[in-house]
């Protein structure tokens, strides 16, 4: 298995977690070679998640922009409303295989928390979710959903009270309870083997989209665009096209109020190499090596690190990483609502905003494939508040 991506990745964890990581690695390797595991995974994706998810031509939006065609990969139509469920189903199957009775997870926007609570209910496992206090407030509907599904939500109030602190608390739980507890990491970050496991489970997005593009257009897209916080939906999309050198891969980081303001969450574009939460990766940090508070209107992108493979794809120039600000993301959000009747998640709106920027400069024959990683129901209150603040 891949433990390092160039200089990135690795297993920078407390010694107590090395045994559970090795146990996970062994279980995953065994499961990968087990046809019945793969069959069950794909059956659940089909019968429970509702895969495959379609691709949708954003016709009116594309016409309005007057350039490339924007195509949406509709992960927002998955059960629970985002791509996160692809990964939690896979990890819950692993947990069951390993005889673990309890799932724990960290969550930012709450989508991964909901997806974990959902599979815990589906497989009859107990579930504790750690969420920063600030996120608990700004993503209240998802907190309610997790509770309905039977999970216990722990509000983490210390330090910056966002995703990184939730992950710290989840790690503390895991280190104390690793015998019976499976830590469901929600993104392609963390210590090996998590980045690869999450990428593999999410690769269904890119594989489907590739086939769907060929069926519908007789060719591959020119660009595949996805938002990057930790980077799981992007890695899932990219995985389908990584060997198609003619397809540009574009990751979009959260620019918050702009890179120059230091109020952003753009680890690749604005960060420096470091080690956090088990991996060597690009991090937003002070000159002394303490981790910075990040900022984005989108809770799901509000994380100071990024998956190690993204750093590697950036270094090798296989993918490019751009930045979209809050304002641009909200504009894109509005555009998709009004032109297509689709309410996107704020996270996905970042990817969409990048496509909206690019489309007018490209010929009508060009295809921009955007991963619409989640739906925006959870963001209603947040967006209303953001707009109110802008108008005053």
């Amino acid at each position: 298995m891949n433990t390092h991506y160039g200089i990135y990745g690795g297993q920078y964890v407390a010694e107590t977690l090395m045994a559970p990581l090795k146990e996970l690695e062994a279980a995953y390797e065994e499961a990968t070679g087990d046809e019945s595991f793969q069959r069950e995974f794909h059956e659940i994706l089909r019968d429970y998640v509702g895969r495959e998810s379609p691709i949708t031509c954003a016709r009116r939006l594309s016409e309005h922009l007057g350039g490339a065609q924007i195509i949406l990969k509709r992960e927002d139509l998955n059960h629970t409303g985002a791509h996160k469920i692809n990964n939690t189903i896979g990890q819950a199957l692993l947990a069951r295989r390993m005889g673990k009775k309890r799932l724990i997870a960290e969550t930012g926007a709450g989508m991964h928390g909901v997806a974990t609570a959902t599979v815990a209910a589906l497989f009859g496992l107990s579930c504790d979710v750690y969420m920063g206090e600030i996120d608990v407030k700004r993503q209240a509907p998802n907190v309610e959903r997790m509770k309905m599904l039977g999970a216990t939500v722990h509000s983490v109030s210390e330090a910056s009270a966002t995703l990184k602190d939730a992950m710290n608390e989840a790690l503390r739980d895991w280190v104390a309870n690793c015998d019976d507890t499976f830590y469901v990491i929600g993104t392609v970050a963390g210590p090996a083997p998590y980045p690869q496991i999450v990428r593999d489970f999410q690769s269904v997005i890119g594989k489907e989209a590739r086939r769907q593009c060929l069926e519908k257009f007789g060719r591959l897209p020119d660009e595949a665009i996805a938002c990057v916080g930790g980077g799981s939906n992007a890695m899932g999309l990219f995985a389908g096209f990584i060997d198609d050198k003619e397809v540009k891969l574009v990751g979009v980081e959260a620019g918050g109020k702009g890179l120059e303001t230091n109020q952003h969450a753009s680890s690749i574009n604005g960060g420096r190499l470091g080690v956090l939460h088990g991996a060597k990766t690009m991090l937003l940090q002070t000159p002394d090596g303490n981790i910075l508070d990040t900022y984005s209107v989108s809770a799901g992108l509000d994380y100071p690190g990024v998956g190690p493979e993204h750093c590697y794809l950036h270094d090798t120039k296989r993918a490019e990483y751009t930045v979209i600000t809050d304002d641009e993301a909200i504009e894109a959000f509005d555009a998709l609502c009004r032109f297509e009747g689709i309410i996107p998640a704020l996270e996905s709106s970042h990817a969409l905003a990048e496509a909206i920027k690019r489309a007018p400069h490209l010929p009508k024959s060009a295809i921009l494939l955007v991963n619409l990683s989640g739906r925006g129901d959870k963001d209603m209150e947040n967006i209303r508040r953001y707009k109110d603040a802008k108008n005053h």
Binding site: T3, G10, Q11, Y12, V13, A14, E15, T16, M18, A19, P20, E158, A159, K164, D165, M167, N168, E169, L171, R172, V175, A176, N177, C178, D179, R272, L273, G274, V275, L276, H277, G278, K280, L283, Q285, P287, D288, G289, N290, I291
Partner: protein, 250 residues
């Protein structure tokens, strides 16, 4: 100077376990934490772990976390802690100092730069809590040439095979045996199989072993030292400091 080796030898000669004490540097202030180190050395500590405050102390329990955040609020950095170590070294030429840190703080300095500064402050060893055996070589390759050692952590679920590998290439150090799965912090009871575990580890290493995590009473320390060469006290000390008391075991 082999201060760590000497500390364990001295304790053995005196027929007791070596007392390893952890202090979060910069808490309540840098100056007060330096004085706390003076006090603890006067009270008989053989080895001091100088804890570097970090923004994301995911291996620590509440007491040390709170202290770390307070220290950070005052802007205490790893450079400040190394400067503290240099001042403490002038006053305590024979006491062993171990820098206890999250790896990012060390890495962020640039490994060569870190090794040079730590050597200048005559720090004896480094203990990065999140740098397991698999990843430690890049650090070892820069600190070893400067005579700085490395303290490996052994967890309750570390196989004896792994333990064997840990001591390779190391001297002037000890194996830090974590007594419980979990974060730092006081525990009422230590696990019943701890004695056997310590004996098992002791039988296959030439390095001294010290047990830590959860030890807060004199009785626990005495019990542990029947099977180990030393014991570590951390949260208990930081808690005393937070209450404005001189550090002590209950």
């Amino acid at each position: 100077m082999q201060r760590i080796t000497e500390a364990f030898k001295k304790a053995k000669r005196e027929n007791r376990g070596a007392f390893v004490a952890y202090v979060t540097m910069g808490y309540p202030t840098l100056e007060q934490s330096e004085r706390a180190v003076d006090d603890i050395i006067a009270a008989g500590a053989d080895i001091i772990e100088l804890g570097v405050p970090f923004s994301d102390p995911f291996a620590d329990g509440g007491v040390i976390r709170t202290a770390s955040y307070k220290a950070l609020e005052q802007g205490v950095t790893i450079n400040d802690v190394i400067a503290s170590a240099a001042r403490l070294r002038e006053r305590h030429p024979d006491t062993a100092f171990v820098l206890f840190s999250y790896y990012n703080l060390i890495y962020s300095m640039g490994l060569e730069n870190f090794a040079r500064e730590a050597a200048r402050a005559q720090i004896d060893a480094v203990l990065p809590v999140d740098l397991p055996y698999e990843e430690r070589d890049e650090l070892l390759s820069v600190i070893a040439p400067r005579g700085i050692s490395f303290v490996p952590l052994i967890a309750p679920n570390t196989t004896l095979e792994r333990v064997k590998a840990f001591e390779k290439g190391l001297d002037n150090t000890f194996l830090y045996v974590i007594t419980v799965k979990g974060t730092t912090g006081e525990r009422k009871n230590l696990p019943p199989d701890l004695a056997a575990r310590l004996e098992g580890i002791r039988s296959l290493t030439h390095l001294p072993i010290a047990a830590g995590f959860g030890i807060s009473t004199r009785e626990q320390a005495l019990e542990v030292c029947k099977h180990a060469d030393g014991f570590v006290v951390g949260s208990r000390i930081v808690k005393c400091l937070s209450e404005g008391r001189k550090p002590c075991l209950s």
